[in-house]
Symmetry: C2
Subunit: 307 residues, 2 copies
């Protein structure tokens, strides 16, 4: 299985447009040993390597697709993107759909509530409803695996299964609907031929038995690396909310993901969806050395993983 | 007046994600004498050079703001962007607003119908309604000049006047409301101290007496350079619509803007909002040489103009 990280940052990217925190300030000044990152998006190739599935559609999708030649069109009107999979309805995961509006048929996998949250009361979505079947929605139901395919239905050789993960609704829907456990999911993607499994949990506030089982079965896991510590934004004077209030399990705190995941067997463990304030972004920070000593890698734009 | 072009392309950018036309194909291959371009966005500085006004908010706004140091924050939470001006409700002009969602107060200038078109029936907009006055809308009324300012109301030294321009509603609102002539506007921005005037008409299907008067009064004009010819997409086999059906006056046809604008006095005339298919993008194409012989420049990302 070929995996390409197109964007590794949390919402806002790194640096973030209105942020002058030490990380953002110093990366702009060129004095920080850290790479800029666009907002989270990962591409996974079909077993034959010809087609690609995007995990989430970041606002920066245009530059992300251009950044990787395998994702370029092979004809006057063409895209190797067979489908897009949404893990929740956050704008940093969905806004890019509205940048794919050039009358191109799209297949989008999402849970029912994520689909409804994006499509209902959203006049902008009409830009993707210009002809019948411009968008084909396919429903992800936690615990029910299915084979990924594009608009032509041709099998990809990849099975996908959604796993409900503790989370929250997107900010623009908070308070507008009862919370559905399928608002936020992780993914297990398995290559049918090799049995290799990718676990993808880019946002979660905790590790349930189902999440744990998914991670334990994976050959490679991507996991929520938004914040190093619960009070990261508070300490920097940039916000009033703790990581958990934004539905993110911090990495380095007591009870954080470094500690909880220590026993997980996945040979490759990769933090993704990294906030601009996170010390993990700095190449030689003590926090990063601690994560690396625990067997973790830190995702970056352009990272490739082969399973 | 300092003017910085952050993005010079029409919707979809150059190259466009699903386009393999000769321009897009060859620029990706590195065999075309042409520069890549992001989607249209232009920044204009206040008279004191300290604050900036964005004309339109492209989907690629994050990378565009990062591309120019004058637009970077000067504190932990700060932006030199004082306000954003919308010339219509097209997604390539408005989607970027939803990327400025980090709880930062925004001022947006738009006509009433463009504001309503963006805010009504748009649940995504709630991401900009997280606290009172997160967005301050200021109304542009064609023919009524006002002084641009940011959230603090401090005068910018720049007067702005909207000019109704022949256009159409954004695709996602077509057929959903009666057409209002203020759906699509051009801008005249004047430096109060020097009297220098910028005319900005990045999308129009024709030149009315009001548009003509605005252009005639300008020291520099940006004008709709979407398509070279009316049948550009049809000839390339990429679409069924003529330029005029998409509310764009072609550049090079009989009765096109090159011909109509030949007598306009603006010392600098610049085509912007250039579609990926347009031969103007190619540095030495016959079409480009014709435009340059007529006194026109072709906008590119990073272009600077001082008036």
């Amino acid at each position: 299985m070929q995996i390409k990280v197109l964007g590794a940052a949390a919402g806002g990217g790194f640096p973030q447009w209105n942020c002058g925190c030490p990380n953002c300030r110093d990366v702009r000044a060129g004095t920080l040993d850290a790479a800029r990152r666009t907002q989270e998006c990962v591409a996974v190739a079909s077993a034959d390597g010809e087609r690609w599935f995007l995990l989430n559609a970041s606002p920066e999708i245009r530059a992300q697709l251009e950044s990787y030649a395998a994702l370029h069109p092979r004809g006057p009107r063409h895209s190797p993107i067979a489908a897009i999979v949404l893990t929740n309805g956050d704008l940093d995961h969905t806004l890019g759909l509205l940048s794919l509006r050039e009358s191109h048929p799209l297949v989008i996998y999402a849970t029912d509530c994520v689909r409804r949250g994006f499509c209902e009361d959203n006049s902008l979505y009409r830009t993707l409803q210009r002809f019948p079947q411009q968008v084909t929605w396919r429903t992800l139901v936690p615990g029910q695996p299915q084979e990924l395919s594009g608009v032509d239905g041709r099998p990809s050789g990849l099975m996908i299964e959604a796993v409900a993960a503790p989370g929250k609704p997107p900010i623009h829907l908070e308070g507008h609907a009862a919370y559905d456990p399928a608002e936020n999911i992780g993914l297990v993607i398995e290559d049918r031929a090799t049995g290799k499994r990718l676990g993808y949990f880019s946002a979660t506030s905790g590790i349930t038995p189902a999440v744990r089982a998914a991670l334990d079965s994976a050959d490679c896991m991507f996991f929520d690396g938004t914040f190093w510590s619960s009070d990261e934004l508070i300490t920097l004077g940039l916000g009033a909310k703790r990581a958990e209030e934004m539905a993110h399990l911090p990495v380095g705190d007591a009870g954080g993901s470094l500690e909880i995941c220590a026993g997980i067997r996945a040979p490759r463990r990769i933090y993704i969806h990294i906030n601009n304030t996170n010390p993990l972004l700095r190449q030689h920070s003590p926090e990063r050395m601690r994560a690396e000593a625990g067997g973790w890698e830190i995702a970056y734009d352009g990272m490739e993983v082969a399973l």
